[in-house]
């Protein structure tokens, strides 16, 4: 049958092209196993600046404030001003070019998604390797809410703005252009951008 033969040719060609593109010739095929979908989902907690790794969920500042007052205030302070146990999460405007620069979220961080990533992976910190009670792990909704609260307290978003996987990556951070080189694609060429002897221009 004409049609069948034709599609077989396409199938074979696709297979060849695919395997060519993959260069999937394993030298040690018996070492390593394929992770299950669940394992991938559990482990993959990195959130890049495009935000396409963000999980579903959402939250607003007022919800975040409630959680903050229970889980974060002891180390980061009533007004997010920081304590001896935790960094300030607000303030520092106008300090970067001075002798007392403050690299706070509102002043220094170029993107908003890393706030989500950091709270989700590291906060509250488990300083003594105490086994974590799973019910204490922040949910995605809670992390969105806390992120919204911190952004709101930095006057970067409005009080009622909903943070989710669509809106969070679009939040414009004040210091987005505060880095050399500004364009992320230019970062890779270490010597090309003039770095030498450990110092970049």
């Amino acid at each position: 049958m004409q049609y069948g033969k034709f599609s077989l040719v396409i199938l074979v060609t696709t297979l060849i092209i695919n395997s060519g593109a993959c260069a999937q010739v394993r030298t040690y095929p018996d070492l390593g196993t394929t992770p299950s979908a669940e394992q991938l989902k559990d482990w993959d907690i990195s959130i890049n600046v495009s935000g396409d790794e963000l999980p579903p969920g959402s939250g607003i500042a007022s919800q975040g404030e409630t959680i903050y007052m229970q889980r974060c205030v002891g180390c980061h302070g009533q007004n997010l001003e920081g304590t001896s146990l935790g960094k300030p999460l607000v303030g520092g405007q106008g300090t970067l070019g001075t002798l007392t620069p403050k690299k706070t979220i509102g002043v220094y961080w170029p993107f908003a998604t890393p706030i989500w990533d950091f709270i989700n992976r590291s906060m509250p910190p488990n300083l003594y390797n105490i086994p974590v009670d799973p019910s204490q792990k922040l949910t995605a909704d809670q992390v969105y809410a806390l992120t919204a609260f911190i952004l709101y307290k930095n006057n970067i978003i409005a009080e009622n703005e909903v943070m989710d996987r669509e809106t969070l990556p679009k939040v414009e951070m004040p210091n987005r252009d505060g880095f050399i080189p500004t364009n992320l694609d230019d970062v890779l060429d270490y010597r090309g951008r003039g770095c030498r002897a450990g110092t970049c221009p």
Partner: protein, 424 residues
């Protein structure tokens, strides 16, 4: 030896093998003796209690790491006593240690898993046992904290070289090249970055160019012939030769490939230096070409006039050290020092120069050059690069990473030695 062991051993010797206080001394047999009891010990032979099976250093050797108890969180900022190190390898128990406020995790290697995924053709999970079946390499590399030798560490005249430069250490790392594992997973077109993640409570990550991963990064389980120590990342550590400390991710559990950096906490704000105009320098990656004289050095006392070799360590994130010059007159004249042995790429390199101290005041310092021809800057040269005056470094209230100016030591006429970095 623990006090308990010392006690057991001596009581066993005195009472000749009679059980004391309910603890029954074990009876050891000589390997070639099949006749039964040979001598009595206070411990089970060939167990971890047996002092013979894991060697101890002499009790006359007292060299220790140091840290500032006021500033240091539980396990952070513990410095290598560089003044006591022989050759260019740092013994693992003296390796500097920074854990960013995380407790050292207690990871069982039999259940530890390491995953590679993201922009790969085939994501894979490896057990430790599987990783060790790959062809392995052993390479000498230093790991250096980005903030090693930063202005606060060099602030005081009485600073020792452990204080000023003790956050770099050099080990023989054994593991599988990451490139070998990435060949197994395949790499999708467009992938340019990896993010590497640790298995400690805070799960710190660092974004690293894929080119570096393919070039010379090692997924390491061995350090100086032993398993990597827990404080250095047991059971698995990513070693990125010459890159700033945080890129050498400890307790490695995951690497993901992508098309952009992740701007993780350790990428920013954690490890970026500010220009005086307030712009941040991010992704400086390579530690600068650097060197320091470790003997004679700060806090030591010259024992007398006469022959005193000058020796120290040089290293560079740019590759191999090709030259070290030493000055004994505050930088007016320089002589080439000898480099000891082969200068491994991205490794500490020991230098040596014979010298006679005449008893007068002297300012001694070293200057390294690496395979790119990059020369370690003087403080003046660094000031020019940054567009600042020297007092800027002492006044600025910000962590200054990648600070590698020449380190001068002043020897007074009485033979005491002080840090002179701000004076020259």
């Amino acid at each position: 030896m623990s006090d308990r062991r010392r006690f057991l051993k001596s009581s066993a010797a005195v009472i000749g093998g009679v059980a004391v206080g309910g603890i029954k001394p074990a009876v050891a047999q000589r390997m070639d003796d099949t006749s039964g009891e040979y001598w009595s010990l206070g411990y089970e032979p060939n167990t971890p209690d047996d002092p013979r099976v894991y060697g101890q250093r002499s009790r006359y050797v007292t060299s220790l790491r140091t840290y500032n108890p006021k500033r240091t969180r539980a396990t952070d900022d513990i410095h290598t006593p560089l003044q006591d190190i022989e050759g260019f390898v740092t013994p693992a128990p003296l390796h500097f240690n920074v854990n960013h406020g995380s407790a050292i995790p207690d990871i069982d290697p039999s259940t530890h898993k390491f995953m590679i995924h993201g922009m790969v053709d085939k994501p894979l999970v490896f057990t430790m046992e599987e990783l060790k079946r790959f062809p392995s390499v052993s390479r000498f590399h230093f790991v250096e904290c980005s903030y090693n030798a930063a202005p606060p560490e060099r602030r005081y005249p009485d600073a020792t070289v452990a204080r000023t430069h003790g956050q770099t250490s050099c080990s023989l790392w054994t593991g599988v090249p990451l490139s070998v594992l990435l060949k197994e997973t395949g790499i999708k077109d467009g992938a340019t970055w990896i993010v590497a993640e640790g298995g400690e409570a805070k799960k710190r990550t660092k974004s690293i160019p894929l080119s570096k991963a393919l070039d010379d990064a090692i997924v390491a389980w061995g350090q100086n012939g032993e398993p990597v120590r827990p404080e250095q990342g047991f059971p698995l550590r990513l070693v990125t030769p010459g890159y700033e400390g945080p890129a050498n991710v400890k307790w490695l559990r995951r690497i993901k490939l992508g098309a952009q950096p992740w701007i993780a906490h350790a990428d920013n704000p954690g490890h970026t230096t500010l220009r005086p105009d307030g712009k941040g320098r991010w992704f400086e990656f390579e530690m600068g070409v650097n060197s320091v004289i470790t003997r004679p050095s700060g806090g030591q006392q010259m024992p007398g006039r006469g022959f005193h070799p000058i020796t120290g360590l040089a290293w560079s994130g740019g590759g191999a050290i090709t030259r070290v010059e030493v000055s004994t007159d505050g930088g007016r004249t320089w002589d080439d020092a000898q480099l000891e042995g082969p200068a491994h790429r991205f490794a500490h390199t020991r230098f040596y120069m014979p010298w006679k101290w005449q008893g007068g005041e002297a300012v001694i310092m070293s200057r390294a050059t690496d395979e790119h021809g990059d020369v370690q800057p003087s403080l003046h040269e660094l000031n020019q690069i940054y567009g600042v005056q020297t007092d800027y470094w002492l006044k600025i209230k910000d962590s200054r990473g990648h600070f590698n100016p020449i380190q001068p030591w002043r020897i007074t006429a009485e033979g005491s030695i002080t840090n002179a970095v701000w004076e020259i």
